[in-house]
């Protein structure tokens, strides 16, 4: 374990030349309760480079989802500032696309319409054909095949989440926020969707932040795993750079001689 710590780099050197895309400064989240304030996050500092894929793990209730919704602008910031591409976050917007834990597709629309509603917002001046092309490109990429015109309710959970991923990428966001995106899926589907996500991410290289409580998922997806301490007063406890080459292949990652060292390191953090 000690050997690994010395070897494992703390910085992703291949991203050295990249500017910071996301910066959290002295971030704080307080929920007022009748018995006094409940401080979820306190004095949290975080810097994420452009094109970096970061996963955040921690125990349930540690505030990792709170952090993500604050970055998305869906949750009020109690103290400190979040900068996205240098601009402070004030409200939600399509530059920070979110893939929610439940697919949250609009059930009265088809898969295509669900993606199109976002594309229309982001590319208002594009022609109808161009908009459709964007939607179809991403739906095709996530493997929706011939089901473009199926109602969201006619699709399985896994298929719905694929549409959710396509909807997020089609917005061409600066940051992709994934809130336990595969938490509700069975392990087989989860693996498939991780591959789909990485494949499409490999092409776009959009800065991504994924919340997860699955150690293997966090290693497989990310360039850097951020470990949060348990709340209240949660903050970043430790971080681990995952230097595996991309594009990643599940088999290669699992067979990597250091894979179990990284896994043990993360588990060790979570169990203390």
């Amino acid at each position: 374990m000690e050997a690994l710590l010395k070897e494992a780099p703390k910085v992703n050197h291949h991203l050295d030349h990249m500017p910071n895309m996301l910066v959290c400064e002295n971030l704080q989240k307080v929920y007022p309760t009748p018995t006094g304030d409940y401080v979820v996050l306190d004095d949290l500092q975080l810097e994420i480079k452009q094109s970096e894929f970061v996963s955040i793990i921690g125990h349930s209730g540690c505030g990792k989802s709170t952090l993500l919704t604050m970055i998305a602008g869906l949750n009020e910031i109690s103290g400190g500032t979040i900068y996205v591409d240098g601009e402070p976050v004030r409200e939600a917007g399509p530059d920070r696309a979110v893939v929610f834990q439940s697919p949250s597709l609009l059930p009265w629309l088809t898969a295509l319409q669900n993606v199109l509603i976002g594309v229309k917002q982001v590319f208002p001046s594009a022609s109808k054909a161009e908009k459709l092309e964007i939607c179809k490109y991403y739906l095709d990429k996530v493997g929706l095949g011939n089901d473009f015109h199926k109602k969201a309710t006619e699709l399985s959970q896994g298929m719905q989440q694929r549409v959710g991923i396509a909807r997020a990428f089609a917005l061409k966001p600066k940051i992709l926020l994934l809130d336990e995106p595969f938490g509700m899926l069975d392990s087989l589907t989860r693996g498939e969707l991780q591959d789909v996500l990485l494949e499409i991410w490999q092409k776009e290289k959009i800065t991504a932040v994924a919340i997860t409580h699955d150690v293997d998922e966090s290693i497989f997806l990310a360039d850097r795993v951020i470990m949060m301490t348990s709340g209240p007063y949660a903050k970043i406890g430790d971080e681990l750079v995952i230097p595996f080459a991309r594009p990643r292949n599940r088999k290669e990652v699992l067979e990597h001689p250091e894979y179990y060292d990284y896994r043990a390191y993360l588990l060790n953090f979570l169990n203390h």
Partner: protein, 401 residues
């Protein structure tokens, strides 16, 4: 040509061949096409609320005869049996009431006019003479006779109307050319005409309720303060009796409409129906809008939809199921209060039909009132079924099988 449900049919049909070899014999001759048709028919039946016929269809096509036969017995025969028992009890009760009224009449004649009058009265009642029939709850047979009489009356009036139309057709053409209003039939309306008038009133009232309640419900659903502000008013007005609404509308309409050519009683009755019936839609719409899934709201926020897009693309579609539940309640309330309102507003329709029959006290008046009762019930049931189908059409949460 038939993507989607074709595939599903083949999938459901496939496993039948393996585990149930004996039923497979019955299945194999029915071709792919009839399987389609059966699925389609069952789907349609379920959709229009006649789902109880489903086992019969399956039985006819030879699918699991024992199971479907007992299902059909349960779903169709039991309700029919209960209707039969109801009619039987009604018949027994009506006969008992008839006998008790008859003996009271005979007894009265005896104490007031003596034995001879009593015998005469007894003979008169037994002869079925109209002048001395006991006036009480009519038996099912009498109601059936009254129904036939009403229908015959309708056929007669319809014929008269037609004759009248053909007579004045030429004159009306001339009048139309001169810019005059056509001559219309002003004779007595038949029972069926009264039903038509009632349906028209209820439709107008329902539309009024919808156009008032849905927009206000949406606005209230969007704003927490508005909901709090109007909550008390709604709670106070909701339980107010139709009769009081009618009087209130009467006060206003009487002052506002001075044009004698306008049909005031129709206006008063449909506005009253609308005001009585709109509350369910109002409450349901505001509740539906206020309780839209938080995930959808978050999607709208991330996409930065403006207020108009937010309402028409997210909030309204998401609350449609609840809005239609409200509209369904509104229709049934509208139909229920209609009779009372027509009765008081002296607006033509089933309500005034019932009231007139009650007032004129003819020999078959009671039976005609019971006929009206069944007609009102049946139409109410049909309206509810129609609204249920529309509501099913609007519900997206269910996977359409």
């Amino acid at each position: 040509m038939c993507r989607g449900w074709c595939e599903r049919v083949t999938v459901t049909a496939a496993p039948l061949h393996l585990p149930y070899l004996h039923t497979a014999k019955a299945i194999i001759p029915t071709t792919h096409i009839t399987l389609h048709m059966k699925t389609k028919i069952i789907k349609t039946l379920r959709f229009i609320g006649l789902g109880f016929l489903e086992p019969l269809i399956r039985l006819i096509s030879g699918e699991e005869p024992q199971k479907n036969a007992s299902l059909f017995l349960k779903k169709a025969i039991l309700p029919v049996a209960s209707i039969f028992i109801f009619v039987l009890i009604w018949h027994t009760g009506a006969t008992a009431l008839y006998n008790s009224e008859a003996s009271a009449r005979i007894e009265k004649a005896r104490t007031e006019q003596g034995e001879a009058a009593a015998t005469a009265m007894k003979a008169c009642i037994e002869s079925g003479d109209i002048s001395c029939q006991p006036n009480t709850l009519p038996s099912p047979a009498k109601v059936w006779a009254a129904y036939k009489a009403l229908w015959a009356d309708h056929v007669q009036i319809a014929q008269k109307k037609e004759e009248f139309q053909s007579k004045v057709a030429a004159t009306n053409e001339q009048r139309a050319a001169q810019g005059l209003a056509p001559i219309t039939y002003t004779g007595r309306p038949s029972f069926v005409d009264q039903i038509g008038t009632s349906l028209k009133t209820v439709a107008a009232g329902f539309l009024l309720a919808m156009f008032i309640a849905v927009p206000i419900g949406i606005i209230m659903g969007l704003s927490d303060s508005l909901r709090t502000a109007f909550n008390w008013l709604i709670q106070i007005f909701k339980p107010v009796s139709p009769v009081v609404w009618l009087l209130l509308v009467f006060m206003i309409v009487k002052t506002l409409i001075t044009d004698p050519t306008m049909d005031k009683s129709f206006i008063i009755s449909f506005i009253s129906v609308g005001l009585c019936a709109m509350w369910a839609t109002l409450v349901n719409t505001s509740m539906g809008v206020a309780s839209v899934d938080k995930d959808y709201i978050n999607v709208a926020k991330v996409l930065k939809l403006n207020i108009g897009q937010n309402i028409f693309k997210i909030i309204l579609p998401a609350s449609l199921p609840l809005i239609f539940t409200g509209l369904r309640i509104t229709v049934s309330v509208a139909w229920m209060v209609l009779i009372a309102i027509e009765l008081l507003a002296q607006s033509p329709g089933l309500g005034s039909f019932v009231w007139e029959e009650f007032q004129n006290g003819a020999n078959d008046s009671n039976a005609k009132i019971i006929v009206a009762m069944f007609v009102i019930g049946t139409i109410g049931f049909l309206l509810d079924r129609i609204m249920l189908s529309v509501q099913n059409l609007m519900t997206f949460n269910k996977t359409t099988a």
